[in-house]
Amino acid sequence: MGTPRIEIIEKYCKGCNICVEFCPKHVLKMDGFVAKVDKPEACIQCMQCELRCPDFAIKVYPA
């Protein structure tokens, strides 16, 4: 399993922290009021962030 591409649309992100908290591998972190991909190599493609983001701001393209 390779490293997936995680796209965060910064214009849509409101910084609610849901993706950061629900990521089981701590791939994401908050950078001010926008989510940032911190450790893409740790991603297990569980899609929790894409599923839960209320702002349509995260897309995970599996490797």
Binding site: Y12, P54, Y61
Partner: protein, 274 residues
């Protein structure tokens, strides 16, 4: 798999107006996935809403959409369904819009068992107008109009819908994101009135006044109190105290209103035939 939500969203409408952490976005995603699963045509699907935060949803999605008067989503949807019974009509709205201001329309749509799917996003508050308490605000909870705690007992939307005669009633929460689209799909496929209550979180108007530190804490609380209806059958009453049941709470087959109405028209126009 990466889901292409843009296919169903009107271009240029995002970002939406909902507050950071508002669960309505999660429900909207669930609704889009459910519509995609059912393979509905954009031109043959109507989404109707009243007024409120949750009722802003039809503005973003690319279907036939109507944004109606406060609480009147079920009334407009009934008319649309009667005019074109083959159209899939979905209502969306909040707890205040659906069961307080539009309570009468809601119970009568349930009573008629007309083939609608009503997605109620229950965030326990009137969020848009400044956090006034709604009939779904829990007892002792704080709202802008109940600064000393809410003395009223809570309105159980699912029980109300079952009592009024809806033939498919289900409940889930914004935490259970995959269950949202599963239940809405089942509701759309059900012939008759389907009510899907989604317990939602309003961090701005409800969470801040009730000592929730973040929206994640609100979602985790929903996770803790939700009990699947199948698991609840094996639990005692003490174990179920303070819990809410999730899943399909009620399902039955009863004559659908549009079909009954068509039969009546047929009977009156052709009095000799059976």
């Amino acid at each position: 798999m990466t889901f292409d939500y843009e296919k169903y969203i009107r271009p240029g409408k995002l970002p939406h107006i909902w507050c950071p952490g508002c669960g309505h976005g999660i429900v909207m995603k669930g609704l889009i996935r459910a519509i995609d699963k059912c393979g509905l045509q954009k031109n043959r699907t109507a989404i109707v809403s009243g007024i409120g935060c949750a009722s802003r949803l039809p503005g973003y999605v690319d279907f036939n959409t109507v944004h109606t008067a406060h609480g009147r989503a079920a009334a407009f949807a009934t008319g649309m369904k009667m005019a074109d019974p083959d159209m899939t009509v979905i209502c969306t709205g909040g707890d205040g819009d659906g069961v307080a201001i539009g309570g009468n329309h809601f119970i009568h749509a349930c009573r008629r068992n007309i083939d609608l799917t009503y997605v109620i996003m229950n965030n326990h508050i009137y969020g848009m107008t400044g956090g006034q308490f709604s009939p779904c605000t829990p007892t002792d909870a704080f709202a802008s109009t109940t600064p000393y705690g809410n003395p009223d007992p809570i309105f159980d939307i699912s029980k109300l819908a079952i009592g009024a005669g809806a033939t498919f009633v289900a409940r889930t929460t914004a935490y259970h994101a995959t269950q949202i689209d599963k239940l809405i799909t089942e509701g759309i496929k059900h012939k008759g009135m389907a009510v899907i209550e989604v317990l939602d979180c309003c961090p701005t108007s409800y969470g801040r006044r009730n000592k929730f530190r973040s929206v994640v804490e609100m979602m985790k609380q929903h996770k803790d109190i939700a009990v699947p209806v199948t698991a609840a059958a094996k639990m005692s009453e003490e174990q179920l105290a303070g819990k809410i049941l999730t899943g399909v709470l009620h399902k039955e087959n009863k004559p659908e209103y549009c079909e009954q109405y068509a039969k009546l028209i047929n009977k009156v126009q052709n009095p000799t035939s059976k």
